[in-house]
């Protein structure tokens, strides 16, 4: 019985493009993926891979989709509700950035597709705002699932799907290995990143980001440790080493990010080959 291989792409904004480098190596070696799981920034690349978009097209689509303009326009109703709650009652659908542009771009890229169109079973994660539980999307509109999965706290407003309000998937698990375990993966290849810390805390937003990074990085380690010990076979972390710092909208660095993903995957390739060659589970 052949081993079921899962690819799990965790949170990490543009760094998640390293998944395309990893995919290049797997394709070149003829190593098939049986399922793909994505969270936050990783949900975009999981979707590309799930839909069978080739590496060059995925790179080009990222450049068109993920640019600095996305955060240029403020969401003034949210600002007013935060600053003057007695005049403008606060609403839980809070986010400082006007999300119309990101939504428009997601519609252009994925609007025609549902999960059912994926060539490889695809799972995208978000977090239920009211219960704090992980939500795993595996059917319905891809745009809704991606928009929910990338609802970065304070930046993009939570997203409503079927009457439930969702925030970014990293809030429950920045690298959702558990989804792959639950869906029967034997070998799990992971690609995920810790959230960067602020060099200088010069604004309320940076202060909030710093707290968010501290919490999510500790959550990542705790969950990853648990899954490593709980899973019966293998979890292979692919950890690209970036010599250059990669920021949220550094899409011009995508070729470099892909290259580092490819390099990191090649380092683990001998072991992955050996593992897949053994038939016993």
């Amino acid at each position: 019985m052949s081993r079921r291989v899962a690819l799990v792409i965790g949170a990490g904004s543009v760094k998640c493009a390293a998944a395309l480098g990893l995919l290049k190596v797997l394709e070149r070696e003829g190593i098939g993926i049986d399922m793909v799981v994505g969270c936050s920034g990783g949900s975009l690349y999981a979707t590309f891979i799930g839909l069978g978009v080739d590496v060059a097209s995925a790179e080009e689509m990222t450049r068109r989709l993920w640019t600095r303009e996305l955060t240029k326009r403020r969401h003034y109703p949210s600002l007013l509700r935060a600053m003057l709650p007695q005049l403008f009652p606060f609403q839980e659908s809070f986010g400082l950035v006007d999300d119309r542009l990101i939504l428009q771009r997601l519609e252009t890229a994925f609007g025609k597709h549902n999960f059912e169109d994926a060539r490889i079973p695809l799972y995208l994660t978000a977090t239920d705002f009211h219960t704090g539980e992980q939500k795993v999307f595996s059917s319905g509109r891809l745009v809704d699932a991606i928009r929910a999965s990338i609802a970065i706290p304070y930046v993009f407003r939570p997203w409503k799907v079927d009457g439930h309000l969702y925030v970014d998937g990293f809030l429950t698990d920045p690298m959702p290995v558990g989804v792959a375990i639950k869906n029967g993966a034997d070998v799990i290849v992971t690609l995920g990143f810790e959230s960067p810390y602020q060099h200088r805390t010069t604004s309320v937003l940076r202060f909030a980001f710093q707290l968010s990074s501290i919490m999510s990085n500790n959550l990542l380690r705790a969950n990853y440790a648990f899954h490593n010990l709980a899973h019966h076979t293998e979890i292979l972390p692919i950890i690209p080493q970036f010599r250059e710092s990669i920021h949220l909208f550094d899409t011009d660095k995508i070729p470099y990010v892909i290259e580092e993903g490819e390099r990191a995957a090649e380092q683990q390739l001998p072991y992955l080959r050996r593992l897949l060659a053994t038939t016993e589970i």
């Binding site: 010990l229 293998e234 979890i235 080493q241």
Partner: protein, 112 residues
């Protein structure tokens, strides 16, 4: 994976070359357990030649850390390469395992 054992006083230094993974972890556990069974419970795993550890490797390390500590000893790591250290950090293992920059300091950390 290749395992070599050297005794230094009451401490056994177990040098591991290659990957600690699903295919090699049972051999590592077996080598370390031989020492514990023979009464040596102060162990240093020299990771200078270890280029990779997977989840199976982590489980093997945890198993032997628990076993040595149950017998009043410990399993401590030395000379861990940067890429392996990243995996140990990411999985929270650096909070439960003692990691030393070299074998000498790991050996010296045990009471004489």
């Amino acid at each position: 994976m290749e395992v070599r054992v050297e005794k230094r006083g009451s401490v056994a230094i177990v040098s591991i070359d290659g990957s600690v993974d699903g295919t090699s972890a049972p051999d590592l556990v077996s080598s370390l357990r031989q020492q514990v069974t023979a009464g040596t419970v102060q162990l240093v795993a020299d990771f200078a030649g270890t280029d990779y550890t997977s989840s199976a490797g982590l489980r093997a390390l945890l198993e032997m850390v628990k076993e040595t500590r149950q017998h009043g000893g410990d399993l401590r790591l030395a000379s861990v390469r940067r890429e392996v250290l990243r995996v140990l950090e990411l999985s929270g293992f650096t909070s439960i395992l003692q990691v030393y920059p070299d074998v000498d300091s790991a050996v010296a950390s045990f009471p004489a």
